[in-house]
């Protein structure tokens, strides 16, 4: 994969430099004509919720990082409670529907963004999934769930304003010691399923110690509303 990737890149550069003289020879190989490169960019729109390093997966229809209304997988729990995307990415790469994946370079602070580029050969179905934790919460995350990008033409973009989900794997106690982000520096992943409702749903928001939950470690700045992020998928070629 990385070998093909580097070849495609250098060919593209040669074409760009060669201009019209070489144009007829560019993009004529089978690999070239079927390769697609996508850039996936995630912008953090929250007030004070850093996003954990993004997990980005391109896949065919059949894989899903989660299903609304059902219990979260352990890899999703690990990401949503602690911000660690390694398990989710490795599980995705083992799926028969897997196409490509990457991790973001690091946490995305409020107002900042991060992006990854993924190259794949074309497939019957091409979906994108993105997952990232709101780290000043117990188990909240935002993302995109298996959205089709197959129809996206070269040079075009799709934009998603993304809501916040509650993984349903940890009680939203907001208590000191339970939140891994800078607001607390507490625990990340814990295998116990302490939420009363062990199912993924839309998040009802954090309450905070300034809005009625006196033992919350969070303050009003950590409250959020939907959408939490803007995710832009651009087909580069």
């Amino acid at each position: 994969m990385s070998f093909n990737h580097s070849i495609a890149k250098s060919t593209a550069i040669a074409c760009a430099i060669g201009g019209s003289l070489l144009l007829s020879g560019c993009g004529s190989s089978d690999h070239e004509s079927s390769a697609r490169t996508y850039e996936i960019s995630v912008s953090n729109r929250t007030a004070n919720q850093p996003l954990s390093p993004i997990a980005v997966v391109l896949h065919q229809t059949g894989y899903a990082a989660w299903t609304d209304g059902e219990a979260a997988s352990t890899p999703l729990e690990v990401l949503a409670e602690g911000g660690d995307n390694a398990s989710l990415l490795s599980t995705a790469s083992a799926s028969e529907f897997y196409l490509a994946s990457d991790s973001g370079s690091g946490p995305i602070g409020p107002g900042n963004y991060d992006s990854v580029q993924l190259e794949i050969d074309t497939a019957d179905t091409i979906n994108v999934s993105v997952v990232s934790m709101l780290v000043n919460t117990n188990d909240a995350y935002t993302g995109v769930n298996a959205a089709s990008i197959a129809a996206l033409a070269t040079g075009k973009s799709m934009r998603f304003s993304t809501p916040v989900w509650d993984a349903g794997t940890e009680d939203d106690s907001e208590a000191a010691g339970t939140i891994p982000g800078p607001a607390d520096g507490g625990e990340g992943y814990n295998a116990a399923r302490s939420d009363t409702n062990n199912r993924v749903r839309f998040h009802s928001g954090v309450i905070s110690n300034q809005d009625g939950l006196s033992n919350s470690i969070l303050n009003g700045s950590h409250r959020f509303d939907n959408p939490a992020a803007t995710i832009t998928v651009t087909r580069i070629n």
Partner: protein
């Protein structure tokens, strides 16, 4: 809608064709994606462009009020009957619990002008909150269409968040002894619900709702329309 079609027809030089009839068969799936809010029996209706179950920024009629405050859709059903809509009443067969979903039977709008989809159901426990979709234009192309919908406030009842003001066919985990969050609605028109406040005192405080269970953010439900 009619103007658009006329324009297209004119472009094609087929001015003689005047029919506005669409052939549509579809199902509507509704997923409750809240943490702890139940939905009362839904009214799902495909109807013409002159019909609406509710309109934001207008005053709720008594039928919408009855739905939003008490979960009764019979008034709305009667209101729109003259327009001969294509409806599914109470597809979930009762309350739609948080995390649950329901799908209507096949809705057939062949030979009708019922090209717009609306749905409503009361949210429990709230005073007069409802999940609503107003006149979504039903696509003519076969496929699966997915979108999310929001919580509205009917504007007909003060959001005091007290158990005495909220129907409770089952135990929603509400408390008692609240003094009342609000005594009136500052916006008495239909509007996007501001959300419930709740508190963490089950035998006192301002609200009888629990701020860890009964809050939500929009959107609160997902609708999936599968058109054959």
């Amino acid at each position: 809608m009619k103007l658009k079609k006329t324009a297209i027809v004119s472009l094609l030089g087929l001015a003689a064709i005047t029919t506005n009839v669409q052939a549509e068969q579809f199902t509507v799936k509704i997923e409750n994606l809240t943490n702890g809010i139940y939905f009362t029996p839904f009214l799902v209706a495909a109807h013409d462009s002159n019909t609406a179950l509710f309109t934001s920024g207008t005053s709720a009629n008594t039928s919408l009020e009855a739905m939003a405050e008490g979960g009764d859709i019979s008034g709305l059903v009667a209101d729109i009957a003259a327009a001969v809509p294509t409806t599914s009443e109470n597809p979930a067969g009762g309350l739609l619990a948080p995390g649950a979903s329901t799908t209507t039977e096949n809705l057939n709008t062949d030979n009708t002008d019922n090209n717009y989809l609306s749905l409503v159901a009361m949210m429990l426990p709230t005073n007069d909150g409802f999940v609503g979709l107003n006149s979504w234009e039903i696509p003519t192309e076969a496929g699966t269409y997915t979108f999310t919908v929001n919580a509205y406030d009917a504007g007909t009842e003060a959001n005091d968040e007290l158990s005495a003001s909220i129907p409770a066919p089952i135990d929603f985990g509400t408390g008692t002894g609240g003094t009342g969050v609000a005594t009136s609605d500052s916006n008495t028109m239909i509007h996007i619900h501001r959300g419930s406040l709740g508190d963490s005192d089950s035998v006192g405080g301002e609200s009888d709702l629990d701020n860890r269970i009964h809050r939500w953010l929009n959107p609160i439900a997902r609708v999936t329309v599968v058109i054959q």
